[in-house]
């Protein structure tokens, strides 16, 4: 019984087999190999689009959405099983901004017009979304954001900047938080807007990450006009919308997805070293750390399953569960990226963006290790998550 099987111990009437059958025919060898080469947080747009459309055609692109909006009606266990099987099969990691962030927010807080306009285009991959939350002075302290929107007729006029905007260079839409009032507590003056990326006055500047890649950006808003019709929720009520979304962001996807993908590359490196008995991957200590990671993976998947079973389909997860899952996903991802680094050994020192050197299974290992430093910082840092959990416990 594999880790993924132990997750789905409940009889699911052949669901797992259906998923596997689909993956074995629809997820092509080319896609899997391309996914292996990806070192970023999300797959590159071309690869992601291929896989997105495959799932879309199958009707499986938005399993966590309510059925009325294109959800699959799966149980929590089925949704997790699906994600875990995708990860285990090395399916490309789809960008979460549309499917798991903007979509659920619109379902929960959007107008009927907004839903009708945007949801189908998220599902069909016609729109590519990015997220405008953080600012240079507002990272962990998101509520202190200063990017300002002033009402002018039927528009908001936005001025300010957003930073760490993943894949902004590919997106045609951005959802963002802006300050519409400076009265009362900081949280009370924030509004949630949607804006086209080709809005006049909106510019994108690349930020190069330490792995040398261009994944994130800074956005500059210079008198960008956003129609009031593109506001989600009431004016000054954006913090509630954002909190709802953050809980999706933290608890929505399978917490084990990224670690499972990394475990796959560790397995490949171990197979690669099968003929070298002195290789570190054969030491009892390396084996033990893998065992501990696999156990944490089982535990986390069951934590997620318990949490998902407790909430109605489509609702965000409770704050405790979502923070635990974010922390565990982070910790396991970083641990797995370290184990991969150690399994690769000295070849991890090579800058593979210039030339491919060493085992094929090790090509993205160093870049992933570098990129995965960010998972404990973005989307609510590990420090912020622990504070949320501690305060929540004290409230009980």
């Amino acid at each position: 019984m594999s880790v993924t099987e132990r997750l789905g111990l409940v009889d699911m009437d052949g669901f797992r087999e259906d998923v596997r059958a689909f993956l074995s025919t629809s997820l092509t060898a080319e896609m899997r190999e391309a996914a292996d080469r990806q070192a970023g947080i999300y797959a590159d747009p071309d690869l992601a689009r291929d896989w997105h459309l495959t799932l879309y055609q199958k009707g499986w692109i938005t399993p966590s959405w309510p059925v009325a909006y294109g959800g699959t009606g799966w149980t929590a266990a089925q949704r997790l099983t699906f994600e875990v099987e995708c990860a285990a099969a090395n399916a490309p990691v789809l960008p979460a901004m549309g499917l798991q962030m903007c979509g659920p927010v619109l379902i929960g807080h959007g107008t009927d017009e907004q839903k009708a306009r945007f949801l189908p285009r998220i599902r069909s991959a016609e729109d590519y979304w990015c997220q405008g939350y953080s600012e240079p002075g507002a990272g962990s302290d998101l509520a202190s954001l200063r990017c300002r929107a002033v009402r002018d007729g039927d528009d908001y006029v936005v001025n300010g900047t957003k930073i760490w905007t993943t894949h902004a260079q590919f997106a045609n839409w951005v959802f963002l938080l802006v300050r519409t009032s400076s009265e009362g507590p900081q949280q009370a003056g924030i509004t949630f807007l949607l804006a086209p990326m080709d809005s006049p006055g909106l510019t994108v500047t690349p930020i190069i990450s330490m792995s040398g890649e261009h994944e994130v950006n800074q956005l500059f808003f210079d008198n960008v006009r956003v129609p009031v019709a593109l506001r989600v929720g009431a004016e000054n009520n954006g913090w509630e919308v954002a909190k709802y979304l953050l809980q999706f962001e933290r608890g929505g996807a399978a917490a084990g997805g990224r670690p499972l993908r990394l475990l796959r590359s560790i397995s490949a490196l171990m197979q690669d070293a099968a003929g070298e008995p002195e290789h570190v991957v054969h030491s009892p200590q390396f084996r033990r750390r893998l065992t501990l990671l696999e156990i944490e993976l089982s535990a986390t998947m069951w934590t997620q399953r318990r949490a998902l079973s407790a909430v109605a389909s489509g609702d965000p997860m409770g704050v405790t569960a979502s923070s635990i899952l974010k922390l565990k996903a982070t910790e396991m991802t970083q641990m797995a990226s370290e184990l991969a680094l150690e399994a690769l050994g000295p070849f991890a020192s090579v800058d593979q963006s210039v030339a491919a050197v060493g085992p094929v299974a090790g090509r993205s290992v160093a870049a992933r290790y570098l990129n995965m430093r960010a998972v404990s910082i973005f989307g609510g840092s590990s420090e912020v998550q622990r504070t949320i959990l501690g305060k929540e416990l004290l409230r009980r």
């Binding site: 132990r6 065992t291 934590t303 399953r305 922390l327 504070t387 416990l393 004290l394």
Partner: protein
């Protein structure tokens, strides 16, 4: 709510009411009788046809968790999970019924050298001579000997070497007892069988198949122990949260310190991860890998939560006066009960290798 859910909720509620106002005091045998006879604790997990609630092992886990939460180290796992579990598995429901009714109270006598987790007995030998059965050997750390009517003794047939399971009256002539106290206040003993004569019907199991049944029963005992540990952890975390809210240092409650909040967060995460592996193991029974995964992970969580509960209580946490110290010592016991984290991690790795070689 389904019928099963409803009866579980009722069971939980009754348990809480009975346990909550009598925490840790009084004579354990009296407490046990009350739980067994007034509440029907041993019957509860049985099928409805046998007077139970039909919740099966999930109810056993629920009960164990509540017993842990209220620090009530009664021999529930020994009787409900091990004795009844084994008797049922050997189709000896007659013996199970005697346990339920309180006519007998068998406790397992597992350890030959006090260290190795669950090897087959090699030093406890049963010899047959002219139709008379004679037993020689020694078992360490047999628990609850002050309450036990019988011992459940794994042994080894002297000629064939096949494994045996014996049910012996605790008062059999020739048994040598040296009794001692455990850290949680219960009584235990080393029992020596110095060539004692036993009745033929004391042999209730024999051979490979029966041994496998016994191993499976021990896996269930292990998972029930995880559930009890979970109860302990929830209680210790709750006590700690209460304490840090009222303890003041540097002009404010220590709950207002960020490192205290983060420590509480880490404790909560450990509790939840332990709850998850336990839930997984309950669901996965009789999968031994899931059971050992649960025991390994829960033992780690238990140590972390117990240590940090004491740490956040500061000086007062190190005193006998506080109930926490009794939880801490009970936690030390449960950490190694039916195998430590290290032993179960090794077992997981071993079983996985077997699994892989079977597949590959």
């Amino acid at each position: 709510m389904s019928d099963a859910q409803e009866s579980r909720a009722i069971l939980k509620d009754m348990l809480r009411r009975m346990l909550s106002n009598r925490q840790g005091e009084g004579d354990m045998m009296a407490r046990w009788r009350q739980l067994r006879d007034e509440l029907g604790l041993l019957a509860a997990p049985l099928p409805e046809a046998r007077g139970g609630l039909g919740g099966g092992f999930a109810d056993s886990a629920l009960i164990a968790e509540e017993l842990g939460c209220w620090l009530m180290p009664v021999p529930f796992v020994a009787t409900s999970v091990i004795a009844i579990g084994l008797f049922d598995a050997l189709s000896r429901e007659d013996l199970s019924d005697q346990v339920v009714s309180g006519d007998i109270l068998p406790v397992p006598a597992l350890m030959e050298d006090g260290r190795v987790m669950r090897v087959r007995p090699t030093a406890t030998m049963l010899r047959e001579e002219d139709g008379v059965l004679r037993l020689r050997g020694r078992k360490e750390l047999v628990e609850d000997v002050d309450m036990a009517s019988h011992l459940l003794v794994p042994a080894c047939a002297d000629r064939s070497g096949e494994p045996l399971l014996l049910l012996l009256p605790a008062a059999l002539p020739g048994m040598g007892w040296s009794r001692y106290r455990l850290l949680d206040g219960r009584e235990a003993a080393t029992v020596v069988f110095d060539d004692i004569t036993i009745a033929p019907d004391a042999v209730i199991g024999r051979g490979e198949a029966d041994w496998q049944r016994f191993e499976a029963v021990l896996d269930r005992a292990m998972v029930a122990t995880c559930a009890e540990a979970l109860g302990l952890m929830r209680a210790m975390l709750g006590q700690t949260v209460d304490y840090v809210k009222q303890r003041r240092q540097f002009g404010k409650t220590i709950a207002s310190f960020q490192v205290v909040q983060h420590r509480l967060a880490d404790m909560l995460i450990e509790v939840e991860q332990a709850a998850s592996v336990t839930a997984m193991a309950v669901q996965a029974l009789p999968d031994p890998i899931a059971a050992s995964t649960a025991k390994a992970r829960t033992s780690q969580a238990l140590r972390f939560v117990a240590q940090n509960a004491v740490q956040l209580h500061g000086g007062i946490g190190t005193t006998e006066e506080l109930a926490l110290s009794r939880y801490f010592k009970r936690a030390m016991l449960l950490e190694t009960q039916y195998g430590s984290a290290e032993q179960h991690l090794a077992r997981v790795e071993r079983l996985r290798e077997v699994e892989r070689s079977l597949i590959g």
